[in-house]
Amino acid sequence: MFHELDVFCTWLQNTRFSLVIASVAWMIPVLQTIHILAVALVISSAFLLHLRLIGLTRGDQSPDAMARRFLPVIWATLPVLLLTGAILISAEPARSLENPSFGLKMLLLLGAIGLTALYQLKLAGDCRATGGRSLTVKVVAASSLALWTGIVLAGRWIAYTQP
Protein backbone atom coordinates (compact mmCIF):
# COMPACT_ATOMS: atom_id res chain seq x y z
CA MET A 1 0.00 0.00 0.00
CA PHE A 2 2.66 2.48 1.00
CA HIS A 3 4.85 1.41 -1.85
CA GLU A 4 2.00 2.08 -4.29
CA LEU A 5 1.45 5.48 -2.71
CA ASP A 6 5.16 6.24 -3.07
CA VAL A 7 5.02 5.29 -6.73
CA PHE A 8 1.95 7.45 -7.26
CA CYS A 9 3.56 10.44 -5.51
CA THR A 10 6.71 10.10 -7.59
CA TRP A 11 4.68 9.85 -10.80
CA LEU A 12 2.50 12.87 -9.90
CA GLN A 13 5.49 14.93 -8.85
CA ASN A 14 7.12 14.34 -12.24
CA THR A 15 4.14 15.26 -14.41
CA ARG A 16 4.65 18.37 -16.51
CA PHE A 17 1.96 20.22 -14.53
CA SER A 18 3.52 19.49 -11.12
CA LEU A 19 7.01 20.38 -12.32
CA VAL A 20 5.80 23.77 -13.58
CA ILE A 21 3.96 24.57 -10.31
CA ALA A 22 6.93 23.48 -8.20
CA SER A 23 9.47 25.36 -10.31
CA VAL A 24 7.87 28.81 -10.03
CA ALA A 25 8.98 30.18 -6.68
CA TRP A 26 5.94 32.39 -5.95
CA MET A 27 3.35 29.82 -7.02
CA ILE A 28 3.05 27.85 -3.75
CA PRO A 29 2.84 30.88 -1.40
CA VAL A 30 0.24 32.49 -3.71
CA LEU A 31 -1.85 29.29 -3.86
CA GLN A 32 -1.57 28.88 -0.09
CA THR A 33 -2.68 32.50 0.40
CA ILE A 34 -5.76 31.94 -1.80
CA HIS A 35 -6.38 28.69 0.11
CA ILE A 36 -6.20 30.49 3.50
CA LEU A 37 -8.45 33.34 2.29
CA ALA A 38 -11.00 30.72 1.23
CA VAL A 39 -10.62 29.05 4.64
CA ALA A 40 -11.30 32.49 6.16
CA LEU A 41 -14.66 32.64 4.35
CA VAL A 42 -15.63 29.14 5.49
CA ILE A 43 -14.45 29.56 9.10
CA SER A 44 -16.08 32.96 9.62
CA SER A 45 -19.34 31.74 8.02
CA ALA A 46 -19.27 28.52 10.06
CA PHE A 47 -18.62 30.31 13.37
CA LEU A 48 -21.15 33.12 12.80
CA LEU A 49 -23.82 30.60 11.79
CA HIS A 50 -23.14 27.80 14.25
CA LEU A 51 -22.65 29.97 17.35
CA ARG A 52 -26.10 31.35 16.57
CA LEU A 53 -27.61 27.89 16.01
CA ILE A 54 -26.14 26.69 19.32
CA GLY A 55 -27.57 29.78 21.00
CA LEU A 56 -24.29 31.36 22.14
CA THR A 57 -24.85 34.57 20.15
CA ARG A 58 -27.88 36.73 19.57
CA GLY A 59 -28.92 38.71 16.54
CA ASP A 60 -31.76 40.40 14.78
CA GLN A 61 -31.86 37.64 12.16
CA SER A 62 -33.55 34.30 12.77
CA PRO A 63 -31.26 31.24 12.82
CA ASP A 64 -32.97 30.14 9.62
CA ALA A 65 -32.19 33.46 7.90
CA MET A 66 -28.58 33.13 9.12
CA ALA A 67 -28.39 29.68 7.54
CA ARG A 68 -29.71 30.98 4.22
CA ARG A 69 -27.10 33.74 4.42
CA PHE A 70 -24.02 31.68 5.31
CA LEU A 71 -24.51 28.13 3.99
CA PRO A 72 -24.25 29.27 0.34
CA VAL A 73 -20.92 30.96 1.20
CA ILE A 74 -19.59 27.67 2.59
CA TRP A 75 -20.79 25.65 -0.42
CA ALA A 76 -19.47 28.21 -2.93
CA THR A 77 -16.05 28.37 -1.27
CA LEU A 78 -15.48 24.60 -1.04
CA PRO A 79 -14.58 24.19 -4.77
CA VAL A 80 -11.95 26.95 -4.41
CA LEU A 81 -10.48 25.09 -1.43
CA LEU A 82 -10.49 21.75 -3.22
CA LEU A 83 -8.96 23.22 -6.39
CA THR A 84 -6.16 25.18 -4.67
CA GLY A 85 -5.59 22.22 -2.34
CA ALA A 86 -5.33 19.80 -5.27
CA ILE A 87 -2.82 22.01 -7.11
CA LEU A 88 -0.74 22.30 -3.92
CA ILE A 89 -0.80 18.51 -3.55
CA SER A 90 0.31 17.99 -7.13
CA ALA A 91 3.32 20.27 -6.57
CA GLU A 92 4.53 18.32 -3.53
CA PRO A 93 2.50 15.06 -3.40
CA ALA A 94 4.41 13.27 -0.63
CA ARG A 95 4.28 16.36 1.63
CA SER A 96 0.53 15.81 2.07
CA LEU A 97 -0.52 12.41 0.74
CA GLU A 98 1.91 10.57 3.03
CA ASN A 99 1.27 12.90 5.95
CA PRO A 100 -0.86 11.83 8.96
CA SER A 101 -2.06 15.43 9.58
CA PHE A 102 -3.32 15.60 5.99
CA GLY A 103 -5.13 12.27 6.39
CA LEU A 104 -6.79 13.55 9.56
CA LYS A 105 -7.70 16.82 7.84
CA MET A 106 -9.44 14.97 4.98
CA LEU A 107 -11.32 12.76 7.44
CA LEU A 108 -12.53 15.80 9.40
CA LEU A 109 -13.43 17.52 6.10
CA LEU A 110 -15.64 14.59 5.08
CA GLY A 111 -17.40 14.87 8.44
CA ALA A 112 -17.85 18.64 8.13
CA ILE A 113 -19.23 18.36 4.58
CA GLY A 114 -21.53 15.55 5.72
CA LEU A 115 -22.92 17.58 8.63
CA THR A 116 -23.34 20.69 6.44
CA ALA A 117 -25.26 18.61 3.89
CA LEU A 118 -27.33 17.03 6.67
CA TYR A 119 -28.25 20.47 7.95
CA GLN A 120 -29.01 21.83 4.49
CA LEU A 121 -31.13 18.86 3.40
CA LYS A 122 -32.88 17.71 6.58
CA LEU A 123 -32.44 20.00 9.58
CA ALA A 124 -33.11 23.37 7.94
CA GLY A 125 -36.86 22.68 8.01
CA ASP A 126 -36.61 21.55 11.62
CA CYS A 127 -34.75 24.76 12.42
CA ARG A 128 -37.44 26.86 10.74
CA ALA A 129 -40.15 25.14 12.75
CA THR A 130 -38.48 25.35 16.16
CA GLY A 131 -36.60 28.63 15.79
CA GLY A 132 -33.36 26.66 15.91
CA ARG A 133 -33.81 25.45 19.45
CA SER A 134 -33.98 21.72 18.88
CA LEU A 135 -31.25 19.68 20.52
CA THR A 136 -30.37 17.94 17.24
CA VAL A 137 -29.64 21.28 15.56
CA LYS A 138 -27.46 22.35 18.47
CA VAL A 139 -25.48 19.12 18.53
CA VAL A 140 -24.96 19.19 14.75
CA ALA A 141 -23.89 22.84 14.93
CA ALA A 142 -21.43 22.22 17.77
CA SER A 143 -20.00 19.16 15.99
CA SER A 144 -19.60 21.13 12.75
CA LEU A 145 -17.71 23.86 14.60
CA ALA A 146 -15.41 21.31 16.22
CA LEU A 147 -14.75 19.69 12.83
CA TRP A 148 -14.01 22.98 11.00
CA THR A 149 -11.71 24.02 13.87
CA GLY A 150 -9.91 20.67 13.68
CA ILE A 151 -9.53 21.05 9.90
CA VAL A 152 -7.68 24.36 10.29
CA LEU A 153 -5.45 23.04 13.11
CA ALA A 154 -4.63 19.84 11.20
CA GLY A 155 -3.98 21.91 8.07
CA ARG A 156 -1.27 23.93 9.78
CA TRP A 157 0.18 20.78 11.34
CA ILE A 158 0.88 19.34 7.85
CA ALA A 159 4.02 21.47 7.83
CA TYR A 160 5.25 19.82 11.05
CA THR A 161 4.48 16.15 10.47
CA GLN A 162 6.13 15.76 7.08
CA PRO A 163 7.05 12.18 6.18
Binding site: I28, P29, V30, Q32, T33, I36, L37, V39, A40, L41, V42, I43, S44, S45, F47, L48, L51, T57, G59, D60, Q61, R69, T149, V152, L153, G155, R156, W157, A159, Y160, Q162
Partner: protein, 168 residues
Protein backbone atom coordinates in the same frame (compact mmCIF):
# COMPACT_ATOMS: atom_id res chain seq x y z
CA UNK B 1 17.95 53.46 18.45
CA UNK B 2 18.69 49.82 17.68
CA UNK B 3 16.01 47.59 19.20
CA UNK B 4 18.06 44.39 18.74
CA UNK B 5 19.22 44.18 22.40
CA UNK B 6 15.55 44.30 23.46
CA UNK B 7 14.62 41.52 21.01
CA UNK B 8 17.52 39.37 22.27
CA UNK B 9 16.42 39.94 25.86
CA UNK B 10 12.82 39.11 24.87
CA UNK B 11 13.57 35.84 23.10
CA UNK B 12 15.80 34.68 25.95
CA UNK B 13 12.86 34.81 28.35
CA UNK B 14 11.57 31.54 29.80
CA UNK B 15 8.35 31.35 27.75
CA UNK B 16 9.88 32.36 24.37
CA UNK B 17 12.69 29.88 24.95
CA UNK B 18 10.23 27.09 25.75
CA UNK B 19 8.28 27.89 22.55
CA UNK B 20 11.45 27.94 20.45
CA UNK B 21 12.97 24.78 21.88
CA UNK B 22 9.86 22.67 22.43
CA UNK B 23 8.73 20.13 19.87
CA UNK B 24 5.05 20.99 19.70
CA UNK B 25 4.48 24.37 21.38
CA UNK B 26 5.24 26.47 18.29
CA UNK B 27 3.00 24.47 15.89
CA UNK B 28 0.12 24.50 18.38
CA UNK B 29 0.31 28.25 18.95
CA UNK B 30 0.70 28.82 15.21
CA UNK B 31 -2.36 26.65 14.47
CA UNK B 32 -4.49 28.69 16.88
CA UNK B 33 -3.03 31.87 15.33
CA UNK B 34 -4.16 30.73 11.86
CA UNK B 35 -7.61 29.79 13.19
CA UNK B 36 -8.02 33.22 14.83
CA UNK B 37 -6.73 35.07 11.75
CA UNK B 38 -9.10 33.25 9.41
CA UNK B 39 -12.06 34.31 11.54
CA UNK B 40 -10.77 37.90 11.79
CA UNK B 41 -10.27 38.19 8.02
CA UNK B 42 -13.49 36.43 7.02
CA UNK B 43 -15.68 38.35 9.45
CA UNK B 44 -14.12 41.70 8.53
CA UNK B 45 -14.70 40.81 4.87
CA UNK B 46 -18.41 40.30 5.65
CA UNK B 47 -18.61 43.87 7.02
CA UNK B 48 -16.44 45.26 4.20
CA UNK B 49 -18.72 43.67 1.59
CA UNK B 50 -21.71 45.32 3.29
CA UNK B 51 -19.92 48.68 3.18
CA UNK B 52 -19.21 48.10 -0.51
CA UNK B 53 -22.89 47.35 -1.07
CA UNK B 54 -22.10 43.81 -2.23
CA UNK B 55 -23.64 41.75 0.61
CA UNK B 56 -26.49 41.99 3.17
CA UNK B 57 -27.79 44.94 1.13
CA UNK B 58 -31.22 44.82 2.74
CA UNK B 59 -29.88 45.00 6.33
CA UNK B 60 -28.70 48.13 8.13
CA UNK B 61 -24.92 48.58 8.12
CA UNK B 62 -24.94 49.23 11.88
CA UNK B 63 -26.77 45.93 12.50
CA UNK B 64 -24.32 43.92 10.42
CA UNK B 65 -21.42 45.61 12.24
CA UNK B 66 -22.94 45.11 15.70
CA UNK B 67 -23.63 41.46 14.94
CA UNK B 68 -20.15 40.62 13.69
CA UNK B 69 -17.49 42.98 15.04
CA UNK B 70 -17.61 42.02 18.76
CA UNK B 71 -16.69 38.47 17.73
CA UNK B 72 -14.03 39.85 15.40
CA UNK B 73 -12.41 41.65 18.35
CA UNK B 74 -12.33 38.46 20.43
CA UNK B 75 -10.64 36.61 17.58
CA UNK B 76 -8.28 39.55 17.01
CA UNK B 77 -7.23 39.43 20.67
CA UNK B 78 -6.48 35.71 20.27
CA UNK B 79 -4.54 36.36 17.04
CA UNK B 80 -2.53 39.17 18.66
CA UNK B 81 -1.76 37.10 21.78
CA UNK B 82 -0.65 34.02 19.81
CA UNK B 83 1.17 36.23 17.29
CA UNK B 84 3.03 37.93 20.15
CA UNK B 85 4.10 34.56 21.54
CA UNK B 86 5.31 33.37 18.13
CA UNK B 87 7.21 36.64 17.62
CA UNK B 88 8.81 36.47 21.06
CA UNK B 89 10.25 33.00 20.35
CA UNK B 90 12.38 34.30 17.44
CA UNK B 91 12.14 38.06 17.88
CA UNK B 92 15.46 38.96 16.23
CA UNK B 93 14.71 36.89 13.13
CA UNK B 94 11.13 38.11 12.75
CA UNK B 95 12.14 41.74 13.24
CA UNK B 96 14.64 41.36 10.39
CA UNK B 97 12.13 39.61 8.09
CA UNK B 98 10.72 41.83 5.35
CA UNK B 99 7.40 39.95 5.11
CA UNK B 100 6.90 40.30 8.86
CA UNK B 101 7.71 44.03 8.77
CA UNK B 102 5.30 44.50 5.87
CA UNK B 103 2.60 42.57 7.71
CA UNK B 104 2.90 44.79 10.79
CA UNK B 105 2.93 47.92 8.61
CA UNK B 106 -0.21 46.79 6.79
CA UNK B 107 -1.88 45.98 10.13
CA UNK B 108 -1.20 49.57 11.24
CA UNK B 109 -2.68 50.87 7.97
CA UNK B 110 -5.78 48.69 8.48
CA UNK B 111 -6.08 50.16 12.00
CA UNK B 112 -5.77 53.73 10.68
CA UNK B 113 -8.35 53.00 7.95
CA UNK B 114 -10.73 51.65 10.59
CA UNK B 115 -10.14 54.61 12.94
CA UNK B 116 -10.74 57.16 10.17
CA UNK B 117 -13.92 55.35 9.18
CA UNK B 118 -15.12 55.18 12.79
CA UNK B 119 -14.29 58.80 13.66
CA UNK B 120 -15.29 60.51 10.40
CA UNK B 121 -17.48 58.47 8.06
CA UNK B 122 -19.44 56.59 10.71
CA UNK B 123 -20.63 59.87 12.33
CA UNK B 124 -23.14 60.33 9.54
CA UNK B 125 -24.30 56.69 9.67
CA UNK B 126 -27.85 57.90 10.43
CA UNK B 127 -28.06 59.25 6.86
CA UNK B 128 -27.03 56.04 5.08
CA UNK B 129 -27.44 53.16 7.56
CA UNK B 130 -30.15 51.48 5.50
CA UNK B 131 -28.74 52.39 2.08
CA UNK B 132 -28.18 49.30 -0.09
CA UNK B 133 -25.12 51.04 -1.50
CA UNK B 134 -23.38 53.22 1.15
CA UNK B 135 -21.72 56.55 0.21
CA UNK B 136 -18.35 56.74 -1.48
CA UNK B 137 -16.34 57.27 1.74
CA UNK B 138 -17.82 54.13 3.31
CA UNK B 139 -17.26 52.09 0.14
CA UNK B 140 -13.67 53.33 0.05
CA UNK B 141 -13.09 52.27 3.67
CA UNK B 142 -14.58 48.82 2.97
CA UNK B 143 -12.55 48.32 -0.21
CA UNK B 144 -9.30 49.47 1.44
CA UNK B 145 -9.91 47.18 4.40
CA UNK B 146 -10.53 44.20 2.12
CA UNK B 147 -7.32 44.82 0.15
CA UNK B 148 -5.25 45.42 3.31
CA UNK B 149 -6.41 42.21 5.02
CA UNK B 150 -5.78 40.12 1.90
CA UNK B 151 -2.25 41.57 1.80
CA UNK B 152 -1.80 40.87 5.53
CA UNK B 153 -2.63 37.19 4.97
CA UNK B 154 -0.26 37.05 1.98
CA UNK B 155 2.59 38.59 4.02
CA UNK B 156 1.87 36.25 6.91
CA UNK B 157 2.08 33.22 4.65
CA UNK B 158 5.28 34.50 3.04
CA UNK B 159 7.07 34.75 6.41
CA UNK B 160 7.30 30.93 6.49
CA UNK B 161 9.12 30.91 3.14
CA UNK B 162 11.61 33.65 4.01
CA UNK B 163 12.66 32.44 7.47
CA UNK B 164 14.75 29.35 7.05
CA UNK B 165 14.19 27.92 10.53
CA UNK B 166 10.42 27.93 10.21
CA UNK B 167 8.58 25.08 8.56
CA UNK B 168 6.75 26.05 5.39
Amino acid sequence: MDPTPFFIWLQNGAVPTAIREGETLFPWIESVHVLAITFVVGSIAAVDLRLLGLASRSRAVSRVAAEILPLTWIAFAAAAATGGLLFSSKAVQYAANLSFELKIGLLLLAGINMAVFQLVTFRSIGDWDGAATPPRAARLAGGLSLILWIAIVACGRTIGFTMVEIAD
